[in-house]
Amino acid sequence: MRTPLYEQHLALGAKVVDFAGWDMPVQFEGIREEHSAVRRHAGMFDVSHMGQVEVEGPGALAFLQRVLSNDVSKVAIGGAQYSVLCNEEGGVIDDLFAYRLGGDRYLVVTNAANHEADLAWLGRQSREFDVLVRDVADRYAMLAVQGPHARDVVTRALGIQLPPRFHVFHVQIGRRPALACGTGYTGEDGVELLLDPEVATPIWAELLDAGVVPCGLGARDTLRLEVCYPLHGNELTPERNPIEAGLGWCCKEATGFIGSEAVAGARAEGTAEKLVAFKIEGQGIPREGNPVMMRGKGDEQVGEVTSGTFSPSLEIGAGMAYVRSELAEVGTEVEIDVRGKRRPARIASKPLYAKRS
């Protein structure tokens, strides 16, 4: 599948890769330059591969309270909230933002790889509720504009008022109804724009002219990893509960969501493993799947890397891993087995990168 901006990516010389069935740009000029543009100025990502599901009807709140882990009743009209979608065992089907567009109307943004599964799950669970669950992914192109100058540039280039962080505004973009959301996946300030696919190309061009740097999925991954945002399929899976993933803060078991009993159990009893951040000390770049070993204690594997990269901001190898809970303490010395070479590493506090203030 291709997003409405596919031709624009080719025109800019992007390297295109398959991502969850979509032909997506992984990089334009280079991951490090794009990463740095987002940390220092403003970059934009075509995230039109992400899915959108509209939930509407008198039972919308009760339904979302049942399927989402967070307390959805706390979201005012125009608000946004992060949640996980759990199965009965408390495993994570997806992680997502829910935006309240009106009294009984919400929009849920899904990960591309999970969109169909989420839709099927939401459809099945919605039967007991007075609610309509609609796949509206075709209605939107999605642009994430991120970086310290992102809001200024978008406001000037598109002439729209932008919402505060974790809010959503109904706006006009390219003279069509659109949504501006105060959310993102980079650890920087910025917005995500949900716009009519027919105006995606001219809007992309206007933002380019305004100096926003086009960025690919490569930089999106290094940016999110530096601030320790989990990625579904890596840190989050249906076999892992949100407690071990460090997402207990977005789980409100008192709401009785599907999986809440298992999540409450994991919270009370603790989990055998925990998701940690780590930095390599010295050389080596960790990658997904690398074993985590005890330092200096032979060949005992104590964990596994879920995401690893060269961190452009820190200029070292860094990543996230599940390790035995007793080794999850910040400062714990471990080794990462990077293709047979044992690289010393240390458990680090999250996020790995924080803005100097």
């Binding site: 080719l10 010389g13 390297k15 295109v16 992984v26 990089q27 280079g30 991951i31 490090r32 990463h35 490569g218 991954d221 290094t222 050389q283 080596g284 770049i285 990658r287 990269t309 060269f310 452009p312 190898g317 293709r339 070479k341």
Partner: protein, 133 residues
Amino acid sequence: MAPASSEGTYPEDLRYHEEHDWARIEGDQATFGITWYAQDSLGEVVFYDPPEVGATIQKDSSYAEVESVKAVSDVIAPLSGEVLEINEALVDAPEKVNEDPYGDGWLVKVRLTHPEESEALLGVEEYRKLLDS
């Protein structure tokens, strides 16, 4: 995507291996590196893991690793030999592999143990044909 070979440069005086490596042969010694196409496919090189000086390397086998932000790539030896020297400058400045793949971005110098193997390598025209196919 535009074909990479149309933008890349491929010096006439080098011999090429189909795994996108080059060899500059001088008597019984040679310098190895990766081609413009290889560095462009990989992206910005952020780490070079060289072999030890004195190590024996085997034609068609991996002798080093280069990594970009996104991926790691084995570097395949175009010829067999013994490592005489590694490019120490790449430890601090691995991006030279991208900036100057045939010059400052060289990877190792070797003493060839089977110089006759070079007959199996490609000339520049053959290598370009491989890229275009």
